[in-house]
């Protein structure tokens, strides 16, 4: 039976929701602005001021972006990297975070320092690049997955969540004679859905948005990820000269029909919408009371 809400509670709710809605409007505005730009003609886009509704909807920018088979190949490559990266990263992060979360791990301080040190002191681009080449990973999908697979940040966040799990849970499993691996799989992970979801989200978004490592390690255009393909479309379009690569004046006009601003807006939408839509799937793992069930049961 729910207690009846007092007046104070009601007021709290109203104020809370009002503020949240107001803030949300500010959050969503820039996105709408970009979306409107992506659907505008270059001239309409250049007229300054607020953009809430497009004057006239044209799809030129989207056509230019989506008609390119390279874009679709880019999507494929990105999905491969994201999926592969997610699997590898989760395995590494979980298997790294769990031992570190055990308070009686031998030399725990040392191992934590071992991990944290690398957040601040890095060799830099050149040695990493040479290493990847020397291992033979150049120009392969692994170059985009392996080097970036383990982030100390993710590791430590996950470690802290594991540390916050009531010790009784774990002890119960060990008393039953389980190995750490069993304890991890049957006790810790089921109860850690929120952090697994959060770290997954971070990994997926980071892999989805990554472009620099593709740029330096991959030379085969068939393996370019989406972000690289889109960047090239934008850069290729900012030609200073009056001349177009095609020499055909009509093609030149086409080029002008999608000027960098509208084109860039369209590529942002194309690159970002898919990843934003991932969130609802992750959401269901932020479920309350997951832990409670396991203690009582």
């Amino acid at each position: 039976m729910r207690a009846k809400k007092s007046f104070g509670e009601l007021l709290f709710d109203i104020v809370n929701i009002t503020i949240l809605i107001f803030i949300s409007l500010t959050f969503i505005y820039p996105f709408i602005h970009v979306a409107v730009l992506s659907l505008s003609t270059p001239e309409a886009a250049a007229i300054g001021g607020f953009k809430l509704i497009p004057k006239q909807i044209v799809f030129n920018s989207y056509e230019k972006v989506l008609r390119s088979p390279n874009v679709w190949r880019g999507y494929m490559n990105t999905i491969i990297i994201v999926a592969g990266g997610w699997i590898v990263s989760m395995i590494l992060t979980i298997s790294g975070a769990y031992p570190l979360s055990r308070r009686n791990l031998p030399h725990r301080k040392f191992w934590t320092l071992f991990v944290v040190f690398t957040m601040f002191f890095q060799g830099g681009l050149i040695p990493s690049y040479l290493l990847v080449r020397n291992i033979g990973l150049s120009n392969s999908y692994f170059a985009m997955i392996l080097p970036a697979a383990l982030s100390t940040w993710n590791l430590l966040i996950m470690r802290n969540f594991f540390m916050a799990i009531p010790p009784d849970l774990e002890e119960a499993a060990y008393l039953d004679g389980a190995s750490p691996f069993r304890a991890l799989m049957s006790v810790i992970l089921p109860v850690s859905k929120p952090v697994l979801a959060t770290v997954s989200l971070w990994i997926i978004v980071s892999r989805w948005n990554s472009w620099f490592d593709c740029l330096i390690y991959i030379t085969d255009p068939n393996k370019f990820v989406l972000q690289i393909v889109l960047r090239r479309i934008i850069f290729a379009d900012t030609k200073e000269m009056l001349l177009s690569a095609e020499g055909n004046v009509k093609a030149m006009q086409d080029a002008y029909m999608t000027d960098p601003l509208t084109l860039r807006s369209a590529t942002i939408m194309v690159a970002t919408l898919p990843i934003i839509m991932i969130y609802p799937f992750i959401q269901k793992y932020f479920v309350k009371g997951v832990m409670v069930g396991s203690i009582k049961g």
Binding site: N16, G96, R102, R103, V115, P127, L150, F286
Partner: protein, 308 residues
């Protein structure tokens, strides 16, 4: 010698006893060694005059010359001051914001509304500063922007947020908070869902109001996360958001807004010295590391959710 062998033997026994844990830990260790520790010799670039054909190891040492070049610029101290001040504002003000936002969202019972607001709140994170700067120039404009329209309708004079040195830092911090609030709240929301609901029920029975519940249950429930996030936030005090500042600043506000990375960036355009940027990076990282270790030492007194 005896002491060494006994301690080695003790350790060997310890590691054998915990062998399964270390087995689990092994892939992570391997990854760190291969991809992070092997290339670490590159740190030395900051102390060398990098000659491409000789490689990093073969390039001559110049000791602290690169650092001297960095520090001798007249504006260097000004730039460090700006970086630190802006970061301090951001840390003090921006750090609690995602937490507050998460708590506020947590109190919304209508799950559809909650989900919608959450998803919307992530959107700014996905837009780069190149795009956001163009939008903010419009929104914050003294002549056309809605913010100033509100300000003038209240009877005040319009504020040139991006062009007035008195307001620029505030603008940087404000827009930074705005961009990161939603995305940054995810991790706290994850923590909030782990809190035992029966605690809340018990509190209601005891007659506790909203604020009391938040103070005594919600916040303590996410202390493990807040602790580690706070330590890292302290580490970021010397770092700056290059993209944000680069796209928003202009010469009128250099005196308050020019930060280490934008300064180095402009120098880079002129002298293209790889070592110079490396020296600036190392400088920032050493300070960051010290901050982190220091903060960790302090938080250790309070709880054990710090680094070590």
């Amino acid at each position: 010698m005896n002491r060494l062998t006994t301690s080695l033997r003790k350790n060997a026994k310890l590691y054998w006893k915990n062998r399964f844990f270390f087995l689990l830990f092994l892939p992570a260790i391997a990854h760190y060694i291969i991809f992070k520790y092997i290339p670490i010799y590159g740190v030395t670039i900051a102390f060398k005059d990098y000659i491409i054909k000789r490689g990093i190891m073969g390039s001559p040492w110049v000791g602290l010359e690169n650092f001297r070049l960095l520090f001798m610029g007249d504006s260097f101290m000004e730039v460090v001051r700006n970086t630190v001040l802006i970061s301090i504002y951001q840390t003090i003000i921006a750090f609690p914001m995602p937490i507050i936002f998460a708590i506020m969202l947590n109190e919304v019972y209508n799950s559809k509304l909650k989900k919608t607001i959450q998803t919307i709140s992530y959107l700014p994170h996905f837009l780069s500063w190149v795009v956001l700067a163009g939008i903010f120039i419009e929104v914050l404009s003294p002549s056309r922007g809605p913010i100033n329209m509100i300000i003038t309708s209240l009877g005040f004079k319009p504020i040139y947020f991006l062009g007035d040195p008195k307001w620029f830092r505030t603008t940087l911090v404000g827009t930074y908070i705005w961009q990161g609030m939603g995305w940054g709240s995810i991790v706290y929301l994850a923590g909030l869902t782990s809190i035992d609901p029966s605690l809340y029920e018990a509190a209601t029975v005891d007659g506790a109001g909203r604020f009391k519940k938040i103070w005594h249950i919600t916040i303590p429930g996410i202390v493990p996360i807040i602790t580690i996030m706070f330590i890292f936030a302290m580490g970021k005090i010397i770092k700056d958001d290059f993209d944000q500042v680069l796209n928003l600043y202009n010469p009128a506000v250099y005196s308050v807004g020019d930060v280490i990375s934008t300064y180095v960036y402009r120098s880079g355009l002129v002298n293209l010295k790889y070592s110079f940027a490396a020296a600036a990076d190392l400088f920032k990282n050493v300070i960051a590391f010290v901050m982190v270790v220091g903060t960790n030492y302090i938080t250790r007194k309070i709880n054990d959710y710090g680094l070590w």
